[in-house]
């Protein structure tokens, strides 16, 4: 393949897109990525903007703007979430779509990356209005999504119910004979509507698995190792649940309501039951005391699981960290400066792109089951998830040692090299 690089105008990118591009550039430079392939991966394949009218409960008609950005599909159909939020715009969708391409590539899935949504404030609409908005958006997207083309999933303010509406609308536009062959147009559906067993715990289980693999590599027993969790939602709870099963002890938890600590251990199940009965709050749980938010990651422990949101481990906090491992259950919890400090201190980081990839692998299993007309039992799903994640973890770990790079860089290298290989083997049409 011959290359000719055209000088491009430096485009100023902000926030999320800037972060994603920085990580991509870093890995691309290390592997000396083919400049032509770099040009392809730096831009999105398709960007769809749709304006569609919906009748509101009061009889008025409102026009909404929806987006779907399809970054790359060289490995398979586009895959990514749909969010309903005022912050949804083309730039945010681009960054998140690109992020999905790396994630699915690293996980070894036959998917590309996409993202989209509708720019709206969901709190201003009734549920029946949201249902009509979803159905009309699906109709507006038309054949730009599809089970073998682009497979949306839940994201901010969209859930299993939203996916069921999309599925029902999409299927209704097909001929009766074709309808049941389109079940896999979305993932994250309710189990009764084609969803998969175990999808709810896939991300958290994946986080616990990557910690288990890390411990095996280091020849460390997880029994009695202390871990702390930021976020006790779907990811944090399930990660803690499975780690506790391996003998580790949860000593502190932080959620939106506050932080609690008990050096002797907090029962994951009892805390979960307590929070369920306490409107989701962990505060006031027996045998635990509340602590100051600024000290949370500095607590004495072996493993930190930031499973809530981004930019939590900063350069100010990093020097206080005593743990041996940070397992990134959330996306982007460690900022660039903090990571340098942590690596310097010899603290390992299981990067988000690997650590929380159990979720997208779970989605892939749902898609496969629908596609093949199968229904897998929970234990089967969990077994397959472990196999898939072990494979990803081993690749990252081996490459990290082989090229003497940190695990995040290794993960990006694997993801990008897989895409590069595809382009080299297939060439560029015509």
């Amino acid at each position: 393949m011959t290359t000719r690089v055209l000088k491009q105008k430096k485009v100023h990118k902000q926030g999320m897109l800037d972060n994603v591009m920085r990580q991509f550039d870093h890995a691309a430079e290390i592997i000396d990525l083919n400049p032509n392939i770099r040009k392809i991966l730096e831009v999105t394949n398709n960007e769809l903007v749709v304006h569609f009218p919906v009748r509101m409960d009061n009889g008025e008609v409102e026009v909404f703007t929806g987006y779907r950005v399809q970054h790359n599909n060289s490995l398979g159909p586009y895959k990514g979430g749909l969010r309903y939020h005022p912050t949804v715009d083309i730039d945010a969708a681009r960054a998140l779509a690109m992020w999905m391409t790396w994630k699915t590539s690293l996980a070894g899935l036959p998917y590309g990356g996409a993202k989209g949504g509708i720019q709206l404030d969901p709190t201003k609409y009734s549920n029946s209005e949201l249902e009509r908005i979803t159905r009309r958006f699906t109709y507006a997207l038309g054949d730009n999504i599809g089970p073998e083309l682009d497979i949306p999933a839940p994201d901010v303010n969209t859930n299993a119910q939203t996916m069921a509406w999309i599925l029902d609308t999409y299927m209704s536009t097909k001929s009766p004979a074709e309808r049941s062959t389109n079940m896999h147009v979305v993932t994250g559906k309710p189990v009764g509507a084609g969803g998969s067993e175990g999808r709810d715990r896939a991300t958290g289980y994946g986080v616990s698995l990557t910690i288990k693999f890390w411990a095996e590599n280091k020849k460390i027993a997880l029994k009695d190792k202390k871990f702390i969790v930021q976020g006790f939602g779907n990811v944090g709870y399930w990660a803690a649940h499975f780690l506790e099963k391996q003998g580790a002890v949860m000593t502190a938890v932080q959620d939106a309501y506050g932080s609690i600590v008990n050096e002797s251990g907090i029962s994951v199940e009892q805390l979960f039951e307590y929070s369920q009965a306490n409107k989701g709050s962990i505060l006031g749980f027996k045998d635990s005391s509340a602590i100051d938010i600024t000290n949370f990651f500095g607590l004495d422990c072996d493993i930190i699981i930031p499973a809530a949101l981004g930019n939590q481990v900063t350069a100010e906090i990093a020097p206080q960290i005593k743990a041996a491992l940070i397992a990134e259950g959330a996306n982007g919890p460690t900022d660039v400066e903090a990571e340098e400090i942590l690596l310097e201190k010899g603290i390992d980081i299981i990067p988000d792109i690997l650590c929380n990839s159990g979720g997208v692998i779970g989605s892939y299993f749902e898609w496969l089951q629908n596609r093949n007309g199968e229904i897998w039992q929970l234990d089967e799903v969990m077994q397959k998830l472990e196999k898939k994640l072990r494979e990803s973890f081993s690749k990252v770990s081996e490459l990290s040692e082989e090229r003497n790079v940190d695990m995040r860089t290794a993960a990006f290298i694997i993801a990008i090299e897989r895409l590069e290989e595809t382009y080299i083997q297939r060439g560029i049409f015509p």
Binding site: P86, N127, V235, A256
Partner: protein, 67 residues
């Protein structure tokens, strides 16, 4: 919530008292986010099933009329 225009925190129920972060200006993903639909949504299918269950005994006693 205008100050969080670039953040998903702007529509989260926890925004006023959230202890997870003091910088809520550019959050694009959060696993603790309360999804609007989850908070108060009861699927219409469930309502239908409930209605059917309540009326079931009465239906049994009714005569079946075929047109």
């Amino acid at each position: 919530m205008k100050k969080y225009l670039r953040s998903i925190c702007s529509t989260c129920s926890y925004v006023q008292n959230c202890s997870l972060t003091t910088n809520k200006s550019s959050i694009y993903e959060c696993n603790e986010y309360v999804h609007h639909l989850d908070a108060d949504y009861i699927p219409s299918v469930m309502n239908l099933i409930k209605t059917t269950k309540v009326d079931f005994e009465k239906v049994e006693k009714r005569e079946l009329i075929l047109n």
